[in-house]
């Protein structure tokens, strides 16, 4: 019974973090209808930013959040304007952007290996203190709690942004129908650029805290994180950012169960989940329509 309780609670926390992992991918998809295949690499970049700031200057990961957001907005805007408007005008934006972001993911991975070497890196999990905390008789490291809170705060922020800000309204309009949004007088390109950067920044935040949940970070972890993120947002429903948390929870609890009871088959889970959902319910668990041939 102890193992069961541990599995559920750990699964929920794990799942909330993985919701954050998928969140950035989903808002970018919602606005641009493009799959950022370099999403996992941006998570990796976030983790290396945190690692670098921690080992060199001893910066606390919580303080890395504002630095990461600022950095990724600075990087994101030129990236957006260099590639995306051109892709949107091309004859097959969906496929071409997919391939282009794949190229970007290769470039990012190579550059980070040049800079840091192809090794696993980590930040000690007692950076927030070595005390633990107890839920329902189960003890967890404090770093888990902080990560979970950060992820929940990120979801709260996205909810507030979409529901209660002027730009958030505009963002939802662009998600609903790009042309119609343009005809309402919305500067669709500016909104898209902003949301694209927000997606990258959210990925980076997930990266900053990835050490405490995944354990370590390596330059080549990008593609796997992208696939997992994609599985999560398909589970939650593509293009519905807030649905991502549901996808994350299902994924988290399922992974913990597999690790507790069928550990040798746990690795295969995200892939099987992804394929199953795409074939059985491509519109996701709470969504409406997705593309199929």
């Amino acid at each position: 019974m102890n193992l069961f309780a541990y599995t559920i609670i750990a699964g929920v926390m794990y799942g909330i973090f993985f919701g954050l992992v998928g969140l950035g991918l989903n808002i970018v998809f919602g606005v641009l209808k493009m799959i950022n295949l370099a999403h996992g690499d941006f998570i990796m970049l976030g983790s290396f930013l945190a690692y670098w700031l921690y080992t060199l200057l001893g910066v606390n990961p919580l303080l890395v959040i504002p630095i990461a957001v600022a950095t990724f907005f600075l990087v994101g805007f030129p990236l957006y304007y260099a590639f995306v408007p051109r892709l949107l005008r091309s004859k097959d934006p969906e496929m071409l952007s997919f391939i282009l972001f794949f190229g970007a993911s290769q470039v990012i991975e190579a550059v980070i290996i040049f800079a840091f070497g192809n090794n696993q890196r980590s930040i000690p999990s007692d950076v927030f203190g070595s005390s633990g905390f107890v839920i329902f008789g189960q003890r967890f490291p404090i770093a888990w709690l902080i990560t979970t809170l950060v992820a929940l705060a990120a979801f709260g922020f996205v909810y507030w942004y979409l529901r209660h800000t002027r730009m958030g309204y505009a963002t939802r309009a662009v998600m609903a129908n790009r042309d119609e949004a343009m005809l309402s007088g919305i500067d669709v390109n500016r909104i898209s650029a902003f949301v694209f950067c927000m997606g990258l920044a959210l990925a980076a935040i997930a990266g900053v805290f990835s050490f405490f949940i995944i354990g370590s970070s390596s330059p080549s972890m990008g593609p796997e994180l992208t696939t997992v993120s994609f599985a999560i947002i398909v589970l939650g429903s593509l293009g519905n950012p807030l649905g991502t948390i549901l996808g994350g929870l299902i994924y988290g609890v399922a992974v913990m169960f597999m690790q507790s009871y069928f550990s040798s088959w746990a690795d295969i889970l995200p892939y099987v989940l992804l394929i199953a959902v795409m074939l059985i319910r491509p519109e996701g668990l709470v969504g409406k329509a997705a593309r199929s041939a």
């Binding site: 969906e94 071409l96 470039v107 599985a231 992804l274 795409m278």
Partner: protein, 306 residues
């Protein structure tokens, strides 16, 4: 019609002559073997991506299935390695049949689902729980049947098969029907084309070629691990070669693989990241400036590309 078959035939003959003649001039057989391997894989991927537009990110799954299919046949059923190659192709086709439902997905969704499928296959094969059959993560040892020269010529046979297949598709009604499906499914089906059947056939042919390649690769390597034959790099390299050369032609993927793999080998092998960086930038540049590959430059000059 005949006018168009001759250039294709010429291309096939040149490639065959090249790989028959080169070993006596250039002694690095392993380079020639790998080059041939990517030429064949590029043509195999071309069948599904070039003619139907489905981008198989998990193409390596068939490669790995071929390597393991033949290795298991050779080690457990004691079949000769040459027949084992055929078993590898069959194993890949079986995986292909299981994955046929994925063809219902379009564009990027198909690509990601296929990637996931290849990863899932990797985790199944490398699972210690299946050690009795696949040796799990510990890899397979085929050194008892190792014969580098035989494997080299077997691969040449596979390459010829792949090229002839592509040349045939390109010049046949079946190729026309695949191109039609790629361009407009509705129009194609109103021309009487059974879309599900046609794309499934292309999918299985493409899988078969990759399976044969994987099988010969396993034979030539003598010892291999799941992480080698299911490495995402195999998909990535093949896709880059095909994109660079130009999809839907016989010569494009050959040229792409020949140029880029040679470059990779002569510059890149000591520090693969240089090449990863180079490929990444190349992909971005291709998408932005030359989405139809180098073959499209020739085509603009009104040159027929076989």
């Amino acid at each position: 019609m005949l006018k168009k078959i001759f250039p294709s035939l010429g291309v096939v003959l040149v490639v065959v002559a090249m790989f028959l003649g080169l070993p006596s001039i250039y002694s690095n057989q392993s380079f020639l073997f790998n080059l041939m391997l990517y030429l064949a894989l590029a043509e195999g991927l071309n069948i599904i991506y070039g003619f139907t537009g489905y981008l198989p990110f998990g193409y390596v799954g068939f490669f790995g299935a071929g390597a393991y299919g033949s290795a298991i046949a050779v080690t457990l059923l004691h079949i000769s390695p040459l027949w084992g190659v055929l078993w590898g192709g069959v194993a890949a086709v079986l995986i292909g049949i299981i994955l046929i439902p994925l063809l219902r997905l379009s564009g990027a969704y198909f690509a990601i689902a296929n990637l996931a499928a290849s990863q899932a296959l990797y985790y199944v094969v490398s699972n210690p729980a299946l050690e009795k059959i696949t040796q799990g993560p510990y890899g397979i040892d085929l050194s008892s049947v190792y014969n580098a020269n035989a494997a080299y010529y077997a691969l040449l046979g596979v390459l010829v098969f792949a090229m002839v297949l592509v040349a045939f598709i390109r010049n046949s009604d079946f190729g026309l029907c695949l191109l039609a499906i790629k361009e407009d499914r509705v129009t194609a089906s109103l021309a009487g084309v059974n879309i599900v059947r046609a794309r499934s056939i292309a999918w299985m042919l493409s899988a078969f070629v990759a399976g044969l390649c994987g099988a010969v690769f396993g034979w030539y390597s003598a010892v291999f691990y799941p992480s080698t034959v299911f490495s995402l790099d195999v998909s990535v390299f093949t896709i880059v070669f095909v994109l660079f050369g130009g999809i839907g032609t016989l010569a494009g993927p050959l040229a792409g693989a020949l140029i880029l793999y040679s470059m990779y080998n002569f510059i890149g092998i000591s520090t693969p990241q240089y090449f990863q960086l180079f490929y990444g930038l190349l992909i971005i540049a291709l998408v932005l400036f030359l989405p139809d590959g180098i073959a499209s430059i020739l085509r603009k000059g009104k040159v027929y590309v076989p």
